[in-house]
């Protein structure tokens, strides 16, 4: 009977950030998550793995990404010094490649031959398709039907790269439903397949692992700002979809208690209208896609549809580490409306000659507000998470530019 006495004890929760995180998944996935966790842990301390990833970043991604000081844009941000961390210059056009190359190397390490991914804006899907091409892996990308329409250019890119793109017609036909469909695929094909989740959400180890692959953004940026300015920035700003680019640039600064960390969620038509994707600002704690965090939900715990002009931020959940950083007061989260984001999109394009992703434009709109609050002495570091090529059609439509 000793063995039943042992097994009847509940094992301790894992992958928690305070009350958030953990694993809420079908038992069928536990083996794969444990395998991934072990691969991630061993890779993090394996000099060969680290050297291979660094080499890829230096010769393929284009790291380190540079810092650009936005002098003319600064006039619209209270005169504060505006330092842009140029993740938009990475190969494939956003920060997403950092995570994808890391996970593709892990896929190889686990001996799997097929990868699946979800995508909203298509940036993560493009990055996953790119890595799959580079490593010779079969790649299937799930994308909400609504998003395939909003981001048709990226759909074509993924196909050119050799990936299969499956439009998802369930539910709200956006990122949330693409994740559901990817999870169903994974439950069915878990032996052969690795799920390259694109943000710091999902069951453990994803929030930790994806953060580890993106924290290079903050490591580089902290050193670059010290070199350029001679001191730490007053605030670090990033947009929040699932939260990967934000945690990537925040993480290195968490111990620097004088540096404010500010995340900008998609406020859509305004949080008060209910049509938004501002999960921390307008949601409440709950479980979605395998993790406990803030969720946009109704009184029955049903996920509520999110709304944003930005496909990459149009998600009713957020990574659990952000929920924790919010609750302990280490990071602040604010909402930026579609209108504010598009103003910033237009301004950066016209003042700096840089067309940002609409996702990143939320952080730029945030910089315009925070810059005015802190004034010209302030130094703001902003994660320019992606470029706006994919958004040209949406922007043309928004600004009434004939195509």
């Amino acid at each position: 009977m000793t063995s039943t006495q042992n097994t009847s004890e509940l094992p301790a929760p894992i992958g928690h950030f305070g009350p958030y995180g953990g694993r809420f998944v079908p038992e069928a996935l536990i083996g794969a998550l444990e395998e991934l966790d072990a691969a991630h842990q061993s890779a993090m301390v394996d000099p060969v793995f680290q050297a291979e990833l660094s080499h890829l970043h230096a010769t393929y991604t284009g790291r380190p990404s540079i810092i650009t000081e936005a002098l003319r844009f600064s006039e619209h941000a209270g005169g504060a010094r505006i330092l842009l961390k140029r993740e938009d210059l990475n190969h494939t056009g956003s920060h997403k490649i950092n995570n994808v190359l890391g996970q593709a190397l892990l896929t190889k390490r686990m001996g799997k031959k097929r990868v699946i991914a979800e995508t909203g804006a298509g940036q993560h899907g493009v990055a996953a398709a790119t890595a799959a091409a580079l490593f010779g892996l079969e790649c299937v990308v799930y994308m909400g039907e609504e998003d395939t329409r909003r981001q048709s250019l990226n759909v074509a890119r993924m196909k050119i790269l050799g990936a299969e793109v499956i439009p998802v017609t369930a539910g709200s036909r956006t990122l949330k439903d693409a994740i559901n469909e990817a999870m169903r695929d994974w439950v069915t094909n878990v032996d052969s397949t690795h799920y390259i989740l694109g943000t710091v959400a999902g069951p453990h180890p994803f929030p930790t692992m994806v953060r580890d692959f993106h924290k290079i953004i903050g490591e580089e940026a902290r050193a670059q700002v010290l070199e350029l300015v001679g001191r730490l920035p007053d605030a670090v700003l990033a947009c929040i979809g699932g939260g990967s680019n934000a945690i990537g640039i925040f993480h290195e600064f968490i111990p620097d208690s004088n540096v404010r960390l500010i995340g900008f969620e998609a406020g859509g038509d305004g949080v008060e209208t209910g049509r938004h994707a501002a999960t921390i600002t307008g949601g409440s704690p709950g479980v979605l896609h395998g993790t406990r965090s803030y969720v946009l939900q109704d009184a029955n715990g049903q996920t509520v549809e999110s709304h944003s002009i930005s496909a990459g931020l149009d998600y009713p959940g957020v990574g659990p580490e952000h929920a924790y950083l919010h609750d302990i007061g280490r990071a602040e989260y604010r909402a930026i409306t579609d209108k504010q984001a598009m103003e910033a999109f237009d301004l950066l394009s016209k003042t700096e000659g840089i067309i940002p992703a609409i996702e990143s434009a939320h952080a730029l709109a945030g910089a315009m507000i925070v810059g005015k609050e802190l004034g010209p002495e302030a130094v703001l570091l902003i994660n320019l998470s992606g470029r706006g090529d994919k958004d040209v059609e949406t922007a043309a439509h928004y600004f009434g530019i004939p195509l």
């Binding site: 097994t7 509940l10 079908p26 536990i30 083996g31 559901n180 169903r184 069915t188 029955n300």
Partner: protein, 267 residues
């Protein structure tokens, strides 16, 4: 005190057969229509009922149950309707469990959910995405109110982990017959038998097999090695495809009777 569900398995063991467990989401095809289906199931040889709590993001469910849950959600089905349906099924003489993803329980309140289950005559709850690591509060609440906790194990659940999960089950162990989502399949994977054999090595708890069973022959095969046979998508498909409610109820009755024969032919 034992739950009605536990009593069902005592009875079916005495009769040397497997129990027939039917699944339907609350509020499908409507709250009242669901009750009429339950009435028919109760009169057609079904031993226990699993009532689904329709959820917006059902990652363990295939297209059939997704569609049914979508219809139920459109009509505004929530916790109140789920408990109302539990009470109805219990009063109709069926041992009744709820199958729900975790977030609706967390939102309702963990203690309160267990309490309302007990108050409405429910025997237990199947929680397909609640891992044992996250179960401390749930185990405490269900213990207080005498509610069975049913976890789902899969063919990929192995070794020590399998024993750890089955140790947390009461009522029965839910064995998923294959790696995948719910939905009728033309064949039941051989993995099901293997999984049941491996579960038996860890527990004396009854084992019910779900995922894919839709015919009398499949029910018979599964009944030869399992203590319970769970059928969901096959009933739902009938209801989705029927031209009107009367013909749906007639076909549900026919399938339930066939399956009830199947679970008695297996040994």
């Amino acid at each position: 005190m034992s739950t009605s569900l536990e009593e069902v398995f005592v009875k079916t063991r005495l009769e040397n057969r497997a129990a027939l467990i039917a699944y339907i989401p609350a509020g499908f095809p409507s709250v009242e229509g669901c009750k009429r289906v339950i009435e028919v199931l109760a009169q057609s040889g079904v031993d226990a009922l699993e009532i689904g709590f329709p959820y917006s993001d059902p990652v363990m469910d295939g297209p059939t149950i997704q569609e049914a849950a979508g219809i139920a959600l459109q009509a505004g089905t929530g916790a109140a309707e789920v408990f109302e349906t539990v009470k109805y099924a219990h009063d109709a003489g069926l041992a009744t469990v709820v199958m729900t993803y975790w977030n609706p329980i967390e939102k309702f309140g963990v203690e309160a959910f267990a309490r309302e289950m007990a108050n409405n005559g429910g025997s237990g709850v199947v929680t397909p995405d609640l891992t044992i690591e996250e179960s401390a509060q749930w185990k405490a609440a269900t213990k207080t109110f005498g509610v069975n906790t049913i976890y789902v194990v899969a063919p990929s659940t192995k070794g020590e982990r399998l024993a750890q999960v089955t140790a947390q089950c009461s009522g029965f162990v839910y064995a998923a017959s294959l790696m995948g989502v719910t939905g009728a399949r033309s064949t039941i994977s051989s993995g099901a038998h293997d999984l049941v054999t491996r579960i038996r090595a860890t527990t004396s708890m009854p084992i019910a097999v779900g995922l894919g069973v839709s015919t009398r022959e499949q029910a018979r095969d599964v009944a030869s090695f399992a203590d319970g046979v769970i059928v969901g998508s096959a009933f739902i498909k009938i209801i989705l495809e029927a031209k009107d409610e009367d013909s749906a109820l007639g076909e549900v009755k026919h399938l339930a009777q066939e399956l009830a024969v199947g679970v008695r032919e297996g040994r």
